[in-house]
Every structure is written in C-alpha cells, then in structure tokens.
Point group: C2
Chain length 500, copies 2
C-alpha cells in the first residue's frame, strides 16, 4: 500500500484569474467622474436608470455575441443547484430586452433607460483585452420612429463633448441596415419573401464589411468572394459572390459623398427597386434632417455607408462614434484612435420573449476605451489630491492627533493621522509622499506645551528640492512654518487654496 | 422507431434567475446618492478607492463564509477553459487580502482603501434575501494600532449621520475577540500554547453568542451546553460546556455596565489571569478613550461584550452598527431595525498568501439594509423629478420639438420629446403622468404661426383635480397658459423654481 504523503499546505497565488484586473485610486475616481458626466447627460435627455442583475438565465441571454463561432459562445456560465444554467451578462442590451419583456406593463411607453456597469466575456484575454469591462448604455424601447435614433446620435455627440472630447476630434457615423438589405436584394442575396434563404452568406457579408478598417478593400473583396487566407495561413471561407455582386456591395461601402443629401441620393441609386432599401434611405434622410436642424452638422453626425456594425440583431439605423485624432499604436505608428461607442435599432430582441415585435434603439459606450482616449488626449489638471497627513510625534497622544484630523475634516479638508509605526519620522514623510499629500502637520511635546503646531508645505518642499542652492538648511526650513494651534484649520485651508 | 416530434420553439422566460432582481429609476438614484455620501466620507478620512475584479480564483477566495456547513460553500463557481476554478466574490474583504498581497510593494503602508460594489452569495433565496447585493467597505491594512479600529468606529458613526440617521437612532457596539479568547481560556476551551485544541467547540460558542438576539439567553445556554432542538425539531449539537463554564461565558455576554470604563473593569475580572484576555481589555480601554476624546460618547460608540460577529477570521476588536429605532416586522410586531454594518480586525487574511502576518481592520456596510432603513425612516422630500415633456402636435415638425427640448436641456432642464405614437393627445398626457413630469409643452400649428407655445402645469393640474368645484372648464384651463416662444425657457425655469 502506498504511503500517504503529507503535503505542505500550498499558499494560494495572489492574482486574479486570467484576463481580470484591479483598478486603484485615481483610475476608479476618473472613471466614476466620467460615468457621472455621461449618465448626467442621459438623465437630462429624460432617460431613467435601470440596474439589472449581473447574472441572467442562459436562455434569457440568448446567442447574440458577434463571435458566433466560439464553442462556449463567449459567456461565463454555470449550473444552479436546481440544474438550470445561469451566466454573467455579456452586455447590457440582452438584459434590457428581458427586463422590458418582464415589466413592460409597468414601464412607460416608450421607455428610455440608461444602464452602467461591468459586463463579462469569456474570451481569450490579450494585451489591453480584459474579460470584465464597463459599458454605459442608453436605449429607447417601444417606438419605431427614427426620431429616437436621431435623438441618440445627438445625445452621443453631447456625451463625447461633455467628457472632454473636442468638436472635430470625433464623428458619429450613421448607416441603416435596411439600405444594406436593399443592396443584398439587388445582388440576389436576399429574397424578401423568404429571408431565411442565404442568411448565412449575408452574415458573412456583414462581418466582412465590418472588417473594412482592418483588412482594407482587397481583404473585404476576398471575403465577399471565395474567401481569404490570413497571414497565419488560416483560410476563412467567403460569401461566394461573383465579381458583379461584389462590385455592388463595395459600391455601397464607398457611397460616402460630400453631403448627407448626396450620400443618400447615391444610396437611393444603389438600392434600385428594393422597397426595404428605399425605406432605409428615407430613414437616413429623416435622421440627417433632424440632427442637422438641431445643429449637429455632418462634422458631428455623418451618414456613412461604410459603418455596418458586426452584430446580427440590428434591423434599421446603426451608428458608431469614432475618435478621429491620431495616437501611436503599439509599434509606434500613428493611427486614428477609432471607435468608442456604437449602437443601432433592434426590433426583434424583446419579441424573443413576448412573441410581439417591440421596436427599440440604443447605444453602448465602451467606457474603458473612452477613458483611455481621454488619458491619451488630456494632461490631467485634476490630479486626485492626497490627504493632509497629521504626523505622530508622541504615540501616547493619539487622541490629540485624531482630534486635529477631525477638525480638518469637519472643515471639509481631506485628512488622516499617520497610523504606521511612528518611531522613524522620515518614514512618516515618505508615507506622505506616497500619498501625494500637500501638507503635513507636526505637533511635538514642545509645540503642544506652547500651543502651536508646525505646518509643512510638502508641495513647496518638493519644488524647492529641485532648486540649485548650497543653502540646504534654508531649503529644509522654507517650506515649514509654525502657527497657533487655534489657527490650524484656517491656515491649512488658506495654504491649500493658494497651492491650487 | 420513434418519430421525431417537431417541437414549437419555446420562448425564454422573461425573469432573472432565482434570488436575483432588478432596480429601477429612483431605487438606483437613491442608492447612488447614498453611496456617494458614504464614499465621500471614506475619502475625507484619507481612504482611497479600489475596484477589484468581480471574479476571483477559488483558491484566492478561500473559505471564510460564516455558513461553513454548506456543501458548495456559498459561492457561485465554475471552471475556466484551462480547468482552473473561478468564482464570483462573496464579499469585498477576501479580494482586498488578495490585492494587498499582490500589490503590497506599490501600496502605502498602512493602506487605507474603500470599495463599493455587488457581491454574490450562492444561498437559498428568501423574502428580501437576494443572491446579489451591495457592500461598501473601508479597511486599513498594515498597522496593528487600535487607533485604526477607533478611527473606523468614529467614521462609521459619521457615515450613519451623513446618510441621514439621527444621533440616538444608532449605536456602534465594540467588542474584542481577545477578551472572548481570554474567557475561553478561563473556561478551559482555549489552550494558548496549542490553539488547535477544541477549536471546533470554540466555533460553536462563537456562533451561539452571535445568535443571542434571535435565540435569547436560554437558547444560547442550550447551544453552549448539550445542544438545542429548534421549532422544526432539528437538533443542533452544542459546545458541551458544563454549567460553571456556561455561566462564565454568559457572564461575558452580559458584562455591559453603565459606562465604558465600568464595562472594561468587569471584563478585566472575567478574563482573570489570561494574558490575551488582559490585552483585549486594554485595547478596548484605548479605543473607548480615543473615540470619547473625539466626542464620540457611549451614546454613539459603546463597548458592548454581547457583540461577537459570526466570522471566524476576526482576531481583535470587532464592531457592529445597529439602528435602534423600531420598525414593524412582517407580522406587524414592533422590533428594533438592527444591524446595518459590521467589521473588525483580521490579522491573518493576507498571511494566507504571503506567509507574513499583516494586521488589518475594516468595516462593511450592508448597503441595501441601510437603504431600507432610510426608506422606512424618512419621508422622501427628494422625489426624483420627471422630465419636462414636449408633446408632438404635428408629427412632420419633429425637428421643431427636438429644438425645443435641446433649448431646455441647454438651460439645465431635464426634458424630452414624446416619442410614442402622437395621434392621441390624451396618451401623451398619460405618458407625462407616468413619467412624473412637472410640465408639458404644447405647440400646435396655430401656436407655431402665432409664435407662441402652451405651458401645461401638470403639478398644479393634479392638485386642482382634487378640488371640489363644478367648474370643470376652469379646472382644465387654470393649469395651462400661453407664452411667447422666445420666453419658453425662462418661463419653464420660473415655473419649476416656484413648484419646488
């Protein structure tokens, strides 16, 4: 018999699972501030917040992820103890459809709602590609009017400017799936009397166009035709279109003209006799007219047929917000920052539950990408200020120091007492430095007796430390001064105001 | 051969999984406001935000849930595609221990952090008992000083008053596990030279005391002795203490005296010659002294030996915030609202990862319970205002109506255009009612021609509708008046200010 081996208990690894990460101090604060701005604008537009559960039944979530070919469909799923399957939401749209279907009798019609929170994707993590990330959505459920789509495009524009993207640095591109369907009809890929025919090929066309940015025209042409071999040698089967059909589709993709009106006119030619295509063009004309009337010219909201969005569930207008300024990619080459938000009309999501078509349209903002864009674009004037540190000179008088911080806090000043080992005063100042503290307060036994405290201006100290002078003592002392204990709060407040 | 039965595709059920729920409009807004207040106070105290991933490895989470007897340990867990197990966090403390162990070289010492977010428990759902709920924690990691514990007790008191709980309606009770350990030593349940002996019985004692509220003294006595049969007939095995030992433990639980000093003196008698017990009493004395010096008297922070907290990992001071006002329970009987927050010192959680002891202490606020308390306590003056509704009299002039809402929004007024079917004007007003709108704007063809708009004061209209008069026409008209189109924004602003 084998002897039981007594194993030393192994320590758990201090790391999150693959593809997950943590966010610290300023990262959390900046995101919160941005989300507060965005949801504030959503709210101004009349949208109400909704926070649905992070966990949904697998059947309610459905299969709407763009990456339809993955075996586990991109979600984190597990079985409940009654054997039913549940999963973490992968976006905020599928839960909205479920919530609306469930509560529609108690919700206003139309229902404008916004939502913000993390979503989870069971995907292969990569650099900058995480399996948990934030979305911030706004949707209007229950109305077919394209005024709802126009409103969301205008709102998206307001949001981007609200968070600090300059006009001219972004563009909201608008297209319409109905126009694409019209083009598909012209090429023979869509038979309006039986849409199930060649649905698979249409999906390939859709995803091919969506990759125009990345693959260029020749790559898309290959995918529209026989197929495409990528650099790794993998072959992706194409939609099998002939040259003439491919030309029509590529004509659609490149139908952008000098004005929204000219673009719509060109699209009208392309969809020829297709009824759905003509309807799509008319909707684009209406959207263009409405946003332009409100002052959102083509420099902000632009009819652009090259935008199709990868998701299969869109049924009408689609839109995408791109940041147009250049950044350097990982290889140091300049490229446009690209997409930070997108959405469109989806009239069938609620129908899955209720059997009745419920028209809906909405946008999702990629919060982390937009934050990255702002980090890239701005020099942050609003660095998060550290607290005033009250140092500990005499560990038996902790209550005195706590009283000082309480006074400061009651005056609205962020402050804390040093709680590490107070023995080494240098360590206390090092700690203040780590915390980005503007000021340290010192009250030794002598000061206590004399009714005074020392105020150390750490910001000034840091600046003086840069200066070239042989008078080290002066440097040490210039940034420190004593005040009456009674004046402490007002002196600190004044110093903070001055250093702003 | 059995014939394949062609099944009609089944519709998914529009409901979240068992034990999950959604939060709408005002619920989300009120929670956001409360969390903003709480985290604002945490921030003032020098705590920095941390947002860790919602998903952790199962090994990092460990087994620290109070309900140690459940087979699945109370977490939602699943396997990643590399077979490793991951799980949704069940609290915010276990992730903090992991994060601190991982990043300790880049974090200040001590590290004060706050965190807010949902946590998940794989428990049997019940009325008001959900499997996803919010916590809002503050912890200080890396310092053994009880000044850190005192700070958290004071902060907890500030937080409760900050969110609107009146002084006198809450109490922060403080105890110390070291004192309990001293009592255990006196009763022979703890041998300081080998703490593994009788650890199981000590766990039973701990959980028995924690149930004092629910079971009363006799119930706890039964659990300390042979065991207890509950109303359903289920028998829970007790700790097996003799009568004398039980008397000592019950003496500890009821050691509360008139003042913190008297309570500490009584505890000193009970722990007799136990070194750890004496240390615990000394720590309680220090905490009492510090919070009292800052003005947090025993009406706010009270040394109370009946509080032990159920969690096994606490090693020193423990604290619990209770709301003391009465509410009616589900059977209509008055009872105290009870606990809304709790915490304590845990010096071993980080050690699991690093092998080195890292002292830490912190508090967790049960956000949903505190919200429920506020709902119960306050008449909400701050109802969430609905948007101004711009009605649609002529569907071809949608751009005009959108221009009106844009003007209102630019003036900081929440406003939206009606996007439902505009045919029936009554439906538009019903919608405004659902939305809790204060004002509706009307601009028909005639008004447009004359350069005016109608303003309908919906709040006044609702009040007038209550009044008894036969003059229905007067009622209809009194709440509506016309203004010049140019004055629209200023008139709406004035009306909103007046109705506040």
């Amino acid at each position: 018999m084998a002897k039981d081996k007594q194993k030393k208990p192994q320590r758990p690894k201090a790391a999150p699972p693959r593809g997950f990460r943590d966010y610290f101090g300023p990262e959390v604060i900046h995101r919160q501030e941005m989300l507060r701005t965005i949801t504030g604008i959503y709210h101004q537009y009349g949208f109400d917040p909704l926070e649905s559960s992070a966990v949904e039944t697998v059947e309610a979530l459905g299969k709407f992820l763009p990456d339809v070919d993955r075996p586990n469909e991109g979600v984190f799923a597990w079985q409940d103890d009654d054997e039913s399957w549940m999963a973490l939401r992968y976006d905020l749209t599928a839960p909205l459809a479920r919530v609306y279907a469930q509560h529609r009798n108690n919700l206003p019609t139309p229902y404008r709602r916004y939502a913000v929170g993390p979503v989870w994707r069971n995907e292969k993590p990569g650099p900058g590609r995480f399996r948990q990330f934030y979305q911030c959505d706004a949707d209007t459920v229950g109305t077919p009017t394209v005024a709802a789509d126009a409103e969301i495009c205008a709102m998206l524009s307001d949001v981007l400017e609200g968070v600090g993207i300059q006009r001219g640095d972004y563009i909201v591109r608008v297209n319409n799936r109905k126009v694409l369907n019209g083009v598909m009809e012209v090429t023979g890929l869509l038979n309006p009397s039986d849409p199930t025919i060649r649905a698979h090929e249409r999906g390939i066309v859709l995803r091919a166009i969506d990759k125009l940015d990345r693959l260029g025209e020749s790559g898309v042409r290959a995918l529209l035709g026989e197929g495409r071999k990528d650099v790794s040698g993998d072959f992706t089967k194409g939609a099998g279109l002939g040259d003439e059909q491919t030309d029509i589709v590529m004509g659609f993709v490149s139908a952008l003209r000098d004005s929204n009106a000219a673009t719509c006119a060109r699209l009208g030619e392309l969809v020829g006799g297709s009824a759905v295509g003509a309807k799509g063009v008319q909707e684009l004309e209406q959207i263009a007219e409405m946003v332009e009337a409100q002052g959102y010219g083509p420099d902000r909201a632009l009819i652009d047929p090259s935008v199709v969005r990868g998701l299969g569930y869109y049924t009408g207008p689609v839109y995408e917000a791109e940041l147009t300024f250049e950044v350097l990619d990982e290889k140091g080459r300049p490229r446009q920052f690209g997409s930070v938000a997108g959405g469109g009309r989806y009239d069938d999501l609620v129908k899955r539950f209720t059997g009745q078509e419920v028209p809906a349209t909405g946008v999702s903002i990629g919060v982390d990408r937009l934050l990255a864009a702002l980090d890239n674009r701005l020099t942050r004037a609003d660095e998060v200020a550290g607290p005033v540190i009250v140092t500990v000179m005499d560990r038996d008088r902790m209550a005195d120091y706590q009283t000082i911080v309480a006074e400061l806090r009651n005056a609205g000043i962020r402050a804390e007492v040093y709680l590490g080992n107070p023995k080494n005063f240098g360590n206390q100042l090092k700690y203040a430095d780590t915390r980005n503290s503007p000021i340290a307060i010192i009250e030794g036994a002598q000061e206590k007796e004399n009714g005074i405290v020392q105020i150390k201006d750490l910001a000034l100290g840091a600046r003086l430390a840069q200066e070239i002078t042989s008078n080290e003592e002066w440097k040490q002392n210039a940034a420190q001064f004593e005040v009456s204990r009674a004046d402490l709060v007002s002196e600190v407040r004044e110093l903070l105001a001055r250093s702003k």
